[in-house]
């Protein structure tokens, strides 16, 4: 029995180790946008898109330039409740376009319902359920999504926040060290991160 275990351990140790692939988010984004354009989504320049939930009619969705779409966001281009009319109209369906203006950000797990138009320079908060017409520079949060004010106020506050950094180009480890130090996080080793190399 011991020899069998020893053989398995040796076999495991002798297996070639697979390097974790380094994710190139820019390349993944470009690939995703190319796939979505093939499916008919109209996408402007400079967009960053982390979802592929563009419903069964992706060609009804249009995104402007520099639109950010976080993970889990869902664009719904049809209202499946039309099925409730199928006793009298057996093949009935209902659809709506979704249009998003330039320089707008749509937060994690938001849902945009059919017939929604979001203006330019808007912020859609995480988890918002958005419908209807959203004017330029709106901040929308909640379910049902409500316009609570100007998106530009949030950006001005963020601009002046001590928690805002120019860190996009930093290496992962450098950013981790910086943030641990900034937020006073001590690693499990017990040493404050600022003392680590």
């Amino acid at each position: 029995m011991w020899s069998a275990i020893k053989r398995r351990v040796q076999a495991f140790l002798s297996e070639p180790k697979v390097e974790e692939p380094v994710l190139d988010y820019r390349a993944l984004n470009e690939q995703r946008i190319a796939r979505l354009r093939e499916r008919g989504v109209r996408i402007g320049e400079g967009c960053l898109i982390y979802t592929e939930e563009f419903s069964t009619e992706p060609y009804l969705v249009e995104l402007g330039n520099r639109v950010g779409v976080a993970g889990g966001v869902c664009f719904l281009t049809h209202d499946a409740s039309a099925m409730l009319m199928r006793a009298t109209r057996p093949t009935v369906q209902h659809f709506g376009r979704i249009v998003v203006g330039n320089n707008t950000y749509i937060g994690q797990n938001s849902i945009l319902l059919p017939g929604t138009t979001v203006g330019a320079d808007c912020l859609i908060g995480a988890g918002a359920v958005v419908r209807g017409q959203v004017p330029d520079n709106s901040l929308v949060i909640g379910n049902p999504g409500k316009i609570i004010g100007r998106a530009s106020i949030v950006l001005e506050r963020m601009q002046n926040s001590p928690d805002t950094f120019d860190s996009l180009q930093m290496a992962y480890d450098d950013r981790r060290l910086m943030l641990e130090k900034h937020f006073g996080i001590v690693r499990d080793s017990g040493e404050p991160s600022s003392e680590q190399p």
């Binding site: 949060i141 100007r150 106020i153 950006l155 001005e156 506050r157």
Partner: protein, 87 residues
């Protein structure tokens, strides 16, 4: 039109948004750290001030505000400007 800046009304709005008593507000209190808000709270505060006091606050100015005292100053300044234009 009132000629005196309605500071009590402004404090009531701040207190209502941050769920505090207006009497406990001090000029040194920081909006985020001391009153417990975030950028969304500030948006709600700005919209409430603009709606109830009929003033327009500049986004850039709001972005730099840290304390209740600084906010009072900014609103007072905008309210005075509006009063001059109106008269």
């Amino acid at each position: 039109m009132n000629t005196e800046f309605p500071s009590g009304e402004l404090d009531r709005i701040i207190a209502e948004i941050y769920l505090r008593s207006a009497e406990t507000l001090t000029a040194e209190q920081k909006l985020d750290e001391d009153l417990g808000g975030d950028s969304l709270t500030v948006v709600e505060l700005v919209m409430a001030i603009e709606r109830k006091m009929d003033v327009k606050l500049p986004d850039r100015g709001i972005g730099k505000i840290k304390t209740v005292g600084e906010l009072r100053e900014l609103v007072r300044e905008r309210w005075e400007t509006r009063k001059i234009i109106a008269s």
